[in-house]
């Protein structure tokens, strides 16, 4: 039907032919594919100030003479409720939007409205440079063929306020369909407040996955802007080593708050990791590993591990660990061996007892090279009494060895 920038230059005319200036349009239902235009805001004819009219009072739009015909200029009485409403011109036009089709962040250079059964919907955004040009020359030389309209359904409109999600602002939420890496990539080119807003929009687990792959400085900025309860949930769903990385960089006070509020199990895991300095093997290992008693038969082990295998990121190796303290590491079983073993065999029979083990106080770079040379997916970390403390995965090893510029792009195998 019409571009918003164009429509905003139309006049509002009543049956007696009195003109007044259109100021803006409000929209609602931003969580639907195509938000509905609900009110027109116009300048009062005689006095200064603005007034609202519901869209249903519009009798028609005359594009030839650029007029919006209304039944009367008398303002509606529900003005007070519209203060919080989203305005097309003020809030959406020129705002930062995520164009999910093209996986990019851009600005809403113009907006496209469609009329259907006397209702008007926001249906597309024009993100081309031409749209800017068109607005500058006030719509002259408009070339309708060359508009770059992107379906509003695939556009996420952000307000730049991390608290908006909590206060019930509506979103499409289509972004949750993208893989975490792509979402993280999108957030790297938007302001940190927008990134925090976007993260708050996601389900906990996805938010945790996205946060895991963000650049380190961005992680801190974003986490601190999140609502505390949500931040704790996100940390809980992250891999403990990555959560410990973030918490280790926070202000002590905030770190303490988070550690105290985390559920007991994940809180303990993260706290255990925080005991090791950053530049030690303990500082790069994860302690979310799958363990099993070596004496169990494979059948028994399967039923025990059924639940245990659901959670951790790293499930490729199952470690055989003694039941009794000090829980000595006895061997390792790969997932493939575990799946293909006979039911009646014991774990002890199929496990590999000849392991390379790391000490938590080793140099992480040395450990990284050792792991890469071994061509294994992970090496276990054992303590003084031979107890299993955690494992260094190939991801952590690559992060130690790869050049800095490479690290952000290196694929994560276990996340």
């Amino acid at each position: 039907m019409v571009m918003v920038s164009e429509l905003l230059r139309y006049r509002v005319t009543d049956p007696k032919g009195h003109h007044t200036k259109l100021v803006d349009l409000t929209i609602s239902q931003l969580d639907t594919d195509y938000p509905l235009v609900t009110h027109i805001i116009y300048r009062l004819p005689d006095q200064k100030g603005e007034a609202f009219l519901p869209w249903k009072i519009v009798k028609g739009i005359d594009h030839a003479t650029r007029q919006i015909l209304v039944e009367s200029h008398k303002p509606a009485k529900e003005i007070d409720t519209l203060d919080q409403a989203v305005r097309l011109g003020r809030d959406v036009l020129d705002a930062l939007i995520l164009d999910l089709q093209n996986r990019r962040t851009t600005r809403a250079n113009d907006l496209w409205l469609e009329e259907e059964k006397r209702e008007v919907h926001l249906t597309a955004a024009d993100t081309s440079g031409r749209a800017i040009l068109r607005r500058l020359v006030r719509g002259r030389f408009d070339d309708r063929e060359r508009r770059a309209l992107y379906d509003w359904k695939y556009i996420e409109f952000l307000r730049g306020d991390p608290q908006a999600v909590n206060s019930g602002a509506p979103y499409h939420g289509r972004i949750v369909r993208l893989p975490p890496g792509e979402i993280a990539h999108l957030t790297s080119t938007i302001p940190y407040l927008h990134a925090a807003e976007l993260l708050a929009l996601l389900p906990k687990q996805l938010a945790a996955d996205v946060l895991e792959v963000m650049a380190p400085e961005r992680q801190l900025q974003v986490l601190e802007e999140l609502d505390e309860a949500f931040a704790v949930q996100v940390l809980e769903h992250m891999a403990p080593d990555l959560a410990a990385d973030i918490i280790g960089h926070l202000d002590l006070k905030l770190a303490q708050t988070y550690l105290n509020r985390l559920p007991k199990r994940s809180g303990k895991r993260i706290t255990d990791l925080l005991k090791y300095a950053a530049h030690t093997v303990g500082g790069i290992m994860t302690n979310d590993v799958v363990t099993v008693s070596p004496r169990l038969t494979i059948r028994e082990a399967r039923s025990v591990l059924h639940e245990k295998l659901k959670e951790p990121d790293f499930v490729y190796f199952i470690y055989a660990v003694e039941d009794r303290p000090p829980h000595k590491l006895r061997g390792v079983v790969s997932l493939r061996q575990f799946l293909t073993a006979e039911d009646d065999q014991t774990v002890e029979e199929i496990m590999n007892p000849y392991l390379l083990a790391l000490s938590p106080f080793d140099s992480p770079t040395e450990a990284g090279y050792r792991l890469l040379n071994s061509q294994l997916a992970a090496l276990p970390v054992v303590g003084k009494d031979g107890e299993l403390l955690g494992t260094v995965t190939i991801d952590a090893a690559v992060a130690q060895v790869a050049p800095r510029s490479w690290r952000a792009q290196a694929p994560k195998v276990f996340s």
Binding site: D94, A95, L96, R104, T105, T106, R107, N109, T127, G129, I132, R135, L136, G160, T189, P191, Y192, L193, H194, E217, R218, L220, Q221, E224, E225, A244, I247, G248, H249, L252, A255, Q256, L259, N260, K264, G267, T271, L273, L274, K275, Y276, A277, A278, T280, L329, R330, G331, P353, Y354, L355, A357, S359, F361, P380, V382, G383, K384, G386, R404, S405
Partner: protein
């Protein structure tokens, strides 16, 4: 048999003798105790934030760079002119401008930290595309002009030392380009910070010139106004070169890129203050150095920064020439990179395309394309002989002057926006200083524009 029990990987893992392993690392690692769930835990992962001098040195960044870039080739020329022509008389202006610059730059960095957005991002969102394009167009034209003058400065400084500009200018252009294209923001910032050390050449030159410090103090704290056309014009010129739109832009956008968040803004403001104080002290040293030599000797006509260096030689010796030459080279290099960056930020923000030194050509083609284009343009034009550069610079100054009050209004309105700024909104004293600066600058610009118009129609010459 080895002393440490079974060798790793050759015997079962359970047979490893690990008893020699330490229970905890030695004193090598800092530890701190935190109370978690009622139990005291020793944690070693936390990095101690640096204290003392190091802490403040690490805060230095965008503010110091932006303000220092204002002491570029054009700046050096006008400060030298001021010293040569009117001695110490105009130093007081620089003292006042120190406060103004500090206030304006601090507001820029606060806007950046509080919103995570650049100045033109905010202008587009709050005041519409028309104003954003207006500001962008002026900045683009004006900055393109200034970039040429920076590369001229690089060439002139090279020739002072007897090296051909045909070698130095292309090499400098390639180096600056390479640094920004392939460096991360943190790396680029560090190099820029190191480059600001060059400015210490000017205080040394000022001291070597052996000024009468009593006179300097009088000039700094006793304002004098002379009803002379040239005096007024220089006064206005000083304001125009000390506070420039590109500096606010760069300050805000690079604060954003540095990743300063609103919760940690507090100490960061020191960067903006330090930058303003440092850069104005440098400008004052230029005035002192030329006032104590050229002005006393009656040599009052200085056209450019390189002129100043040459003119100093007979009075202050080879050392002064060298110091001014080194300063000019460093300043032009710094501004030669900062200006294209500020422009690239501005245009990308208005168009809403990805921007940032941390990205690469593939992800931010417009940002890096603009940066490349401006460097190329500056270096090429500066090598063409006999271009009417002085006339261009006048035009550029007029443009920048016209834009500055507009930018200040935008900044002051944005920074008083409760919804945008929250607790980082301007305080009353800040508003007072901010609007005071605006009045000062607006008056200066009106005088300058008026003067331009009058001289154009031939009323004054």
């Amino acid at each position: 048999m080895s002393e440490k029990g079974a060798p790793q990987g050759l015997e079962p893992v359970e047979e490893l003798d690990l008893s020699s392993l330490p229970n905890r690392p030695g004193a090598l690692h800092d530890s701190l105790r935190l109370n978690i769930r009622g139990r005291s835990v020793t944690l070693r992962r936390f990095q101690h934030s640096p204290r003392g001098l190091l802490k403040w040195l690490l805060i230095l960044g965008p503010g110091l760079i932006a303000s220092s870039a204002g002491n570029d080739a054009g700046g050096i020329a006008i400060y030298s002119q001021t010293g040569a022509k009117f001695g110490y008389d105009l130093i007081w202006v620089m003292v006042i401008l120190m406060v103004s610059l500090a206030v304006v730059q601090e507001m820029g960095s606060r806007l950046g930290a509080a919103t995570g957005r650049g100045l033109l991002d905010l202008i587009r969102e709050r005041f519409g595309i028309d104003w954003a394009i207006f500001a962008m167009a002026i900045l683009f034209i004006a900055n393109s002009g200034i970039v040429v003058s920076e590369f001229l400065g690089i060439g002139a400084a090279a020739e002072l030392f007897g090296i051909s500009k045909w070698i130095v200018v292309p090499v400098a252009a390639v180096l600056l380009w390479y640094l920004v294209i392939f460096g991360s923001y943190a790396w680029v910032e560090k190099i820029f910070l190191v480059m600001t050390l060059v400015f210490f050449a000017y205080p040394v030159a000022a001291i070597l010139a052996g000024p009468d410090w009593g006179e300097v103090a009088r000039g700094a704290f006793l304002p004098t106004i002379r009803p002379e056309r040239e005096y007024i014009f220089l006064l206005v010129g000083l304001m125009g070169t000390t506070i420039t739109p590109f500096m606010q832009l760069f300050q805000q956008s690079s604060t954003v890129e540095r990743g300063v968040a609103r919760r940690h803004y507090g100490p960061e403001r020191v960067d903006a203050y330090a930058g303003a104080i440092f850069s104005n002290l440098i400008s004052i040293s230029m005035i002192i150095a030329t006032a104590a030599t050229l002005h006393l000797a009656g040599q009052t006509e200085i056209e450019s920064a390189a002129d100043a260096a040459l003119a100093l030689e007979p009075f202050a010796g080879n050392a002064a020439k060298t110091l001014f030459g080194v300063g000019l080279m460093g300043a032009s290099l710094l501004a030669g990179a900062v200006l294209p960056l500020a422009t690239a930020y501005a245009v990308s923000e208005v168009l809403g395309v990805p921007k940032g030194v941390n990205l690469d050509f593939r992800r931010a083609p417009i940002f890096f394309g603009l940066f490349t284009g401006m460097i190329l343009l500056g270096a090429t034009l500066s090598l063409i002989p006999n271009l009417p550069v002085i006339q261009w610079m006048v035009a550029v100054q007029v443009l920048n002057g016209a834009l500055l009050p507009v930018m200040l209004i935008f900044i002051l309105r944005l920074i008083n926006d409760e919804q945008l700024m929250g607790p980082l909104k301007n305080t009353r004293i800040y508003n007072l200083l901010g609007w005071g600066t605006f009045t000062l600058v607006a008056t200066a610009v009106l005088i300058m524009l008026g003067g331009q118009v009058l001289s154009m129609v031939g009323v004054i010459k």
